[in-house]
Amino acid sequence: MSSEEMGGAVTGVEPTDMEATPKADTTAASEEIRQELVAELDGLIRRLRAITPDYEPPRYSRHRFVAMVEESLQKLPRNVQLDVLDRLRTAFNEQWFDPDTWKGVWYMVNYTVKYNADLVQRRFTGEYDTDEWGVDWEFLDVARPFFTFLYKVYWRVRATGIEHIPIQGRTLLVANHSGQLPWDGTMIATAVMSDHAAQRLVRTLYSDWVPRVPFISAWMVRIGQTLATKDNGVRLLEQDELVAVFPEGHKGIGKLYRDRYQLARFDQGDFVQMALEAQAPIIPVSVVGAEETYVTLAKSATGAKMAGTPYFPISLTFPWLGLLGLVPLPTRWYIDFGEPIVLDGYGPDAAQNLVLVSQLSDQVRNTIQEMIHGRLAQRPSVFF
C-alpha cells in the first residue's frame, strides 16, 4: 500500500497531457498548473500537520530524495519501476517544479511511508483500539475499499429508503437472507456506511457456525459483527447501536435456486423480542440480486457432514471449480429499506407475550416478502 501511494504521489505530479501540449505555450499554462499543484500540496500538508502535530519529516535534500525514491521503487515490479523512473526524468527535465514543490512532495511521501510502517508495527505491539465487542476501526478502514468495490462496481447496488434509518439511536434492521455466503450482510453494512448521512456502523448478528471458522471469525468480530443471541441483540440495541438480523438463518442463506425469493420460516421471533425489550423500531430490508450470485441446484447432507458446515451447496460452479466456484456472479443488486415499524405502543413486558411476538414476526415477514415481490416485478434483468 505504501509503495503504491508513494508511486501515486510521485507519478501523480507528472501529468501525461504535458507531452501533448505544444512546447510554445507551455510557459503560461504550466505556470498555472504549477501554482494549482503547489496550493493543493500546501493544503494537504496543512491537513496532515493538523492530524499529527508531532510528526516531523527528515530534512529535505536531493540525495535523500533520490535514496528514498530508490528504496520505495524496490517494492514495485520491475516494469513499473522503469515506468516511474522514466516519468520522473521527464518531470525533472521539464524544469517544472521549484524546490518548494519538491519539499512538499518529500513531506507527503515520507508521511505516507512512515504512517504505513507505524500502522503495521502497531498491529504487532497491540497499540490499537477496539471496543468491548471487538470492533477494530483500523481494520475496518483497510477492509472498506474491498467492500466498496463489491458495492459500487461488482454488484452495482441500488439502495433506496436509506433515509428511514435514523441518524442516531437504536434500530433493528430485519432482512431476507440469501446467496450461500453472507455477502448480503456486508452489502447492507456497506450501503449504510457509504450512503447514509451518519455513515453508521451496522452490527450484524451471525450464526454460531461463524465462530468456528478460522480468519472469518476474527474478521467478522473486527468489522462489528457478533453472535446472534437475544442477549447480544438487546445489549447492542440498549447501547443505541444499529443492529441487523437475518431471522431466516441457515434456512434462508442456503436456499436452492428454485426457491429463490421465497422467505423461509422466521426462527422463534427472537428478533421481535429483542426489539420489544429494547424498545427499538424495526426496519424491514429486502435484498434482491443476492439469490442469483450462486445458482444452487441441490444441497448435500454428506458434504455438510464432511466439511463440518451447516449446509453444503451444489451449484453450477461449486464444488466443481473448487474455491474458484465460490466467486459470486456479478448480478445487479437492489437493497430497499422499508418504513420503520414502531413498537413504542407496547411495554417492555410485551416481549413475553408470545402471541403478540409471533404476530409481529409474521407482519415483518409479510412486509419483506411484499417488498421483494415489488422489486422483482420492476427489475429489468438479473444482471443489468
Partner: protein, 360 residues
C-alpha cells in the same frame, strides 16, 4: 464491622491467602484468623494464625469457639492435569469447610472461582452473565475442580439459605508476581495462539483480585459475581501488549497435539497453559453485578495490567525494578492525591468510627 467481627482466611500461606489476610489486617478493626497446614513464611502483622488442615473435622469447634462471622476460603491447589490429591483438597476441602460453616452458624463465606467455568463455546453470548450455564472444560484439573465446587455451591445455597455464599469468578489473572495460566501463556514464547482466531478476552490485575476479595468480605453480596478489568481486548492485542512473539498454529494441530500430550501423562504438564477452545472461542463475562452490587471498580484497566506485566518481563533479566518512570510518577501522583482526599475527608467527618481512630 467492629472489633468483634472475626474473619477466618483459609489457605493463608497461598498466593491469595497471604495477600487477602494482610489486606484485612491492614484495614484494621477486624479479628483475622489465618488457617493453613504450615505457618506463613513471613509474619503478617496482626494475623492470628492457627495451624490445621481445612479438612480437619474439628474446624466446626474452631469456628464456634471464635464466633467466626465470615470465612474466606482460599485454600486451593491449581493443577493442569486432573489429580486425585488436588481434587480431595479442593473439592472435598470446600464441601467440608462449607459444611462446618453451616453447622457453626457462620454468617457468610467467600470463595474464589474463575470465569473459565463458563467454558469457551462458539454459542457463547458476547457477555456471559452469572446465570449462564457452567460448561467449562473437564480436562483441566483446576477448571474441573472449580466446576465441581460451583455445582456443589448451587445445591448448598438451596439447602443452607442462612449461610450467605459469595463466589467471585475472576477473569484470567495477570500480574508481575503471580503464576496463572495467562501469565504462563504470555511468558512462554512458544505457547501458540490459533491461526485465524482472535477471541475477545478479559484479564484482571493481581492487586484487583485481592481488593475484590476484600470488598466481598466487607460487603454482603450473595451469589456469584464476575470480576474482570472493564476493557475487553482481543487476544492478539493482549499478546502484542505483553510483547509475546506472534506465533500461531492451525487449530486442528493444536487439538491434535493436546490429545497426544494428554495421553502421555509425563508430558501433560508441558501442554499449552490454555486448552485450544479457550484460545478459539469467547468466554467474556458480563460485569454488571460487579459494578452495581459489589460496587467494585478495578483500579487497573486491562491495558495497564498488560503494560505493567510487559515492563516486568523486560526488567526481570537485569534484576532491576519494573521500570517505567512515567508510569511510576503517575502512580505516585495518584497515591498522593488519594491521601490528600482521604485526609480532607477525615477532616470533614472526623476519624471514622469503623477503624477506631487508631489508623496510621
Amino acid at each position: 464491622m467492629s472489633e468483634h467481627t472475626t474473619i477466618l482466611v483459609t489457605g493463608v500461606t497461598g498466593t491469595w491467602g497471604v495477600r487477602v489476610a494482610a489486606r484485612l489486617c491492614k484495614a484494621g478493626g477486624l479479628h483475622v484468623i489465618g488457617l493453613d497446614r504450615e505457618p506463613p513464611e513471613k509474619d503478617i502483622e496482626g494475623l492470628d494464625f492457627v495451624q490445621a488442615d481445612v479438612r480437619n473435622p474439628l474446624l466446626v469447634e474452631l469456628l464456634k469457639a471464635e464466633r467466626v462471622d465470615t470465612v474466606c476460603h482460599l485454600e486451593f491447589a491449581e493443577t493442569a492435569q486432573p489429580s486425585e490429591a488436588a481434587f480431595d483438597l479442593n473439592v472435598m476441602g470446600t464441601t467440608k469447610v462449607l459444611g462446618a460453616c453451616a453447622e457453626a452458624g457462620v454468617r457468610k463465606a467467600v470463595l474464589r472461582s474463575s470465569t473459565a467455568v463458563y467454558g469457551a463455546r462458539p454459542s457463547n453470548a458476547a457477555f456471559l452473565t452469572e446465570e449462564h450455564a457452567l460448561r467449562g472444560s473437564k480436562r483441566s484439573g483446576t477448571i474441573r475442580d472449580l466446576l465441581e465446587i460451583e455445582t456443589f455451591c448451587d445445591g448448598f445455597r438451596q439447602r443452607s439459605p442462612h449461610l450467605m455464599l459469595t463466589t467471585l469468578r475472576f477473569a484470567s489473572i495477570v500480574g508481575p508476581t503471580v503464576d496463572t495460566p495467562m501469565t504462563r501463556f504470555l511468558k512462554a514464547p512458544w505457547a501458540p495462539s490459533l491461526l485465524g482466531f482472535d477471541p475477545r478476552m478479559q484479564v484482571i490485575h493481581e492487586d484487583d483480585v485481592v481488593e475484590a476479595l476484600a470488598q466481598a468480605i466487607l460487603r454482603d453480596v450473595p451469589g456469584p459475581v464476575n470480576v474482570a478489568a472493564e476493557d475487553v481486548l482481543p487476544l492478539n492485542k493482549i499478546r502484542g501488549l505483553a510483547s509475546k512473539p506472534p506465533i500461531a498454529v492451525l487449530h486442528l494441530l493444536a487439538y491434535w497435539s493436546q490429545n497426544l500430550l494428554a495421553s502421555t501423562p509425563r508430558w501433560g504438564s508441558d501442554a499449552s497453559p490454555f486448552e485450544p477452545d479457550y484460545l478459539r472461542y469467547p468466554w467474556v463475562a458480563d460485569l454488571r453485578r460487579m459494578r452495581e452490587e459489589l460496587s467494585f471498580v478495578p483500579h487497573y484497566t486491562a491495558e495497564d495490567t498488560l503494560h505493567e506485566f510487559a515492563e516486568w518481563q523486560h526488567a526481570a533479566p537485569f534484576q532491576v525494578g519494573p521500570f517505567s518512570t512515567a508510569r511510576d510518577e503517575e502512580r505516585l501522583r495518584d497515591q498522593i492525591e488519594q491521601r490528600q482526599r482521604d485526609r480532607s475527608q477525615e477532616a470533614v467527618t472526623g476519624p471514622s468510627a469503623e477503624d477506631g481512630g487508631d489508623h496510621e
